[in-house]
C-alpha cells in the first residue's frame, strides 16, 4: 500500500462534529493499510475572523505580520484534528508548515513553495503515524513564516504528494466532484468521473472554483493524480490526471464567469505598435487581461477590445483616458454587464463542428454573441449577463445532456 495525501478545507473541519467526521475518513483510509498524510485548512471562518481582528488594529499591517497571524489558524485546526484521531485510538502527529519542511520564497501573502524537506514527514510515516500538516504555510530562508495565498492548502497537498511520490492526492470539498456545469445553475449538469489537467485548468480559470489553478498546474507538472471528492458523502469523485478514457464526449464542461468587463478602444490608427502600447500600459499596473480581439483594419483605423475583471475596469479606463492623445483613438467604451460563457474539452481539437454547434445552441436560444475567443481546448463567447444562465443551460444540454 502506498501513500495517500488527503486535503480537507475549512468548512470540512468547521466544528467538533465535522472534525470527528473527517477523522473517521482519515482513519478508514489508514485502516486499509495506506500511509496517510493530511493537509488541513483553518476552521470555518477562522481566517476571516483573524483578518477582521487585524483590520481593527491596523488595516495596513505588514504582510509579514499578517502571515504570522493567519498561519495560526491552520496550526489550531491541525492540532484539533490530531486530537480527534487520537480519540479514535490511532497514532497521529500534527505538524506546522515549517515542521513539515515547507520552504518558500519570501513573497509574504502569496509565497511559492521552493522545496519540501521531507525528512520529518517520512520519519513520522516510518513510525506508522498519521501525519496532519497545517496547510497554506511555509518558512522562508530568513526563518519567517509565510502563507501561500488563495488556494494555498490545495497547493500544499499537491506539493507534498509530489515529493512523497504519493499514489494520489485526494481533495475533499463540500461538492462531490467536478461537474459538466455548475449544478446550482444547470439542471442537467452531471458529475465527471475523469478530467485532464488541462481541462481542469481551463474550467478552474473559467470560474468552476472546485480546485485552485496553482494546485492543478503543480499536479500536472509532477504528474500527481488528484481526486476531488466530498467530505460529506461517501462516494467516488472526479479524478484529475494526464490522460482520460476516450469517450464520445466532445466537451468536458461548460462554465460561466460573470466577473468580466469588456473595454473597447474604437478607431485607433491601423499602424504597428498600438496593441503593444495598450497592453504594456495595463501590464505595468498588474491588470490582467483575458480575451483580446482586434478588428480587421478599415479606412485606416481598427478597434481593439479586451476583457478584464470588473474590479480593474475603472482603473483600466482611467489609464487609457490618460493616453488618448498619444493613441489617437476615436472612442473608449466599457461594458460591465457581460458574461463569459466557455466550453472546455480536449476532444474539440479534432472536431471542427464543436464551435458551430455551440453557436447554433445560442442562436436557437436567441442569444446574441458579442465576442468569440478560441483555444485548442476551449471556446469562449461574451454575451449579455442577463442571458447567461439561459445560455449556460442551452449550451450544456446541446453537448452534455
Amino acid at each position: 500500500m502506498g501513500i495517500i495525501v488527503q486535503k480537507f478545507g475549512g468548512s470540512s473541519v468547521a466544528n467538533a462534529e465535522r472534525v470527528n467526521h473527517v477523522a473517521r475518513i482519515i482513519t478508514d483510509t489508514y485502516k486499509m493499510g495506506h500511509d496517510v498524510v493530511v493537509v488541513v485548512s483553518a476552521q470555518g471562518d477562522t481566517t476571516d475572523d483573524l483578518i477582521e481582528k487585524a483590520g481593527e488594529i491596523n488595516p495596513k499591517a505588514s504582510k509579514r505580520e499578517m502571515d504570522a497571524l493567519l498561519s495560526a489558524g491552520e496550526l489550531m485546526s491541525a492540532a484539533l484534528l490530531a486530537m480527534a484521531i487520537e480519540k479514535q485510538g490511532f497514532p497521529v502527529v500534527s505538524l506546522s508548515g515549517w515542521q513539515a519542511g515547507f520552504v518558500t520564497d519570501s513573497n509574504h501573502g502569496g509565497a511559492r513553495i521552493r522545496r519540501i524537506e521531507k525528512e520529518r514527514v517520512e520519519n513520522e510515516l516510518a513510525k506508522h503515524n498519521i501525519v496532519i500538516v497545517a496547510g497554506f504555510q511555509g518558512l522562508n530562508r530568513y526563518d519567517d513564516v509565510t502563507t501561500l495565498g488563495r488556494g494555498g492548502s490545495d497547493t500544499s497537498a499537491v506539493a507534498l504528494a509530489a515529493v512523497l511520490h504519493a499514489d494520489r492526492c485526494q481533495i475533499y470539498t463540500d461538492v462531490d466532484g467536478v461537474y459538466t456545469a455548475d449544478p446550482r445553475l444547470v439542471k442537467n449538469a452531471r458529475k465527471l468521473d475523469e478530467i485532464t489537467y488541462d481541462e481542469m485548468l481551463e474550467l478552474a480559470s473559467l470560474g468552476a472554483q472546485v480546485l485552485h489553478n496553482r494546485s492543478v498546474e503543480m499536479a500536472k507538472k509532477y504528474n500527481v493524480k488528484m481526486e476531488v471528492l466530498s467530505s460529506l458523502e461517501k462516494k467516488s469523485g472526479t479524478e484529475v490526471k494526464e490522460v482520460v478514457k476516450v469517450e464520445k464526449m466532445l466537451i468536458r464542461g461548460v462554465a460561466r464567469d460573470n466577473d468580466v468587463a469588456r473595454i473597447s478602444v474604437v478607431g485607433v490608427p491601423d499602424v504597428p505598435g498600438i496593441a503593444f502600447k495598450i497592453f504594456s500600459l495595463l501590464a505595468a499596473r498588474k491588470i490582467n487581461v483575458d480575451i483580446i480581439l482586434q478588428s480587421i483594419g478599415r479606412d485606416g483605423t481598427k478597434d481593439i477590445s479586451f476583457t478584464v475583471s470588473r474590479m480593474h475596469a475603472g482603473q483600466a479606463m482611467a489609464l487609457l483616458e490618460e493616453v488618448r492623445e498619444s493613441l489617437r483613438y476615436e472612442n473608449l467604451v466599457c461594458d460591465d454587464t457581460i458574461s463569459k460563457l466557455s466550453i472546455v474539452g480536449s476532444g474539440m481539437i479534432a472536431n471542427p463542428g464543436v464551435a458551430s454547434k455551440m453557436f447554433e445552441a445560442l442562436s436557437e436560444a436567441n442569444i446574441n454573441i458579442q465576442m468569440i475567443s478560441t483555444s485548442e481546448i476551449k471556446i469562449s463567447v461574451l454575451i449579455d449577463e442577463a442571458d447567461s444562465t439561459r445560455a449556460l443551460n442551452a449550451v450544456h444540454d446541446a453537448f452534455l445532456a
Copy 2:
C-alpha cells in the same frame, strides 16, 4: 541605553483598544532610546477557549497536541501587537517561541527552558527593531512545540532578560505593584517600592498571585531586576531585587491563602519511620504538602498534622485510610474550612519580637491559632477560614499601617 524586557499578560491585550494602549507603552520606552524586547501572553480568554474546543473533541488529548494548539494563542497576540506598533510607525517584528530561540525539555504542558539561542533576537535588535516574542512556549530537541505551564510568559520574559543581560524585566499586570496585603481585603494595604526575591517568593507561594514563583526563582538565580507595574496607569511599580533599602519595616507583607486543608493523623505510635511512611505515600501520588507539624510524643503516641491544597484533601484522606492497619493510628481528621495567614519579611530574622507581635494582634482580635509554622523570613498560622479577613487586617495593621 540598555535593553528592557517588557511582559504583558492576556488581559492587557484582550482587545484592539488595549493592544493599542500596550503598543504605546512599548513605543514610549523605545523612544527613550532603549532596546525593547516584549513578551506577550495570549489575548484574554483565548487559551480557555482553545482548551474548551479541545475538550469538545477529545478531553484526553495528548499533551503534545495540546501544546501545538495552545501555543497558537501567543502567536496571534504577538502578531497583532506588532501590527499595532507598525501602525504607530515603529520598526517591529513578532517572533514565535522557537524563532526567538527558546529551547526546552520535552515535558509538554510544563516544559523547562534549557537555553535561549539569542542570535535572532540580537540580530533584530541590531536592526533597531522592537521585538515581540510569543510567551509561554518553546521547542524541544525533537522540533516539537512545548508550553511552559502556568505563569509561563513571566518565565519567558525573565529568561530573555537574563540571556540578553537586560537592564530590567518589567512585568505589566492589572495591578500597579506588590502590596503589603491584598488591597481588596485590607483597607490599609499599601504598595511596596521594593521587595527582595526571597520575600516575593514567599508572598507568591502564599497566594499573593502577582508573579509566578518560577519567574522569581529564575530572576533571583540570574540576578534579573524585575519590576511589577500597571499596564493601565502610568506610575511606578514595585521593584524585585536582591537587596532592598533598609527600612524600619520588619515585615514586607501579609498574605492569606484559603486553599488549605489540614489533615491530622492522631495517635500514631511514637516510633521512628512514621513520618517517612506518611509523606512518601503522598509524594508518590504527587500530592504537595505544605506545613507539617508533629506533636511531642506522649503515652507512646504522637499526632502528625499537615496541610495540602483542598483539591488534594480527599485523595490524601483515601490514601491514609488504606494504610490505617500498617500505621496503627487512632484517628484521621480533615478540616477544609481553615485558612493560612502569613507574614513575610527579611527583617524578622533579627527581630525576635515579630512572632509575639503577630500572636498578640490575633489574640486581641479574639482569633484562635490552630497551628504555627515558621521559617527565616516567614511566619504562618492556621486559623478558621471565617476569621481570615479579620485576621488579615488585624495583623497587617499591627505591623504595616
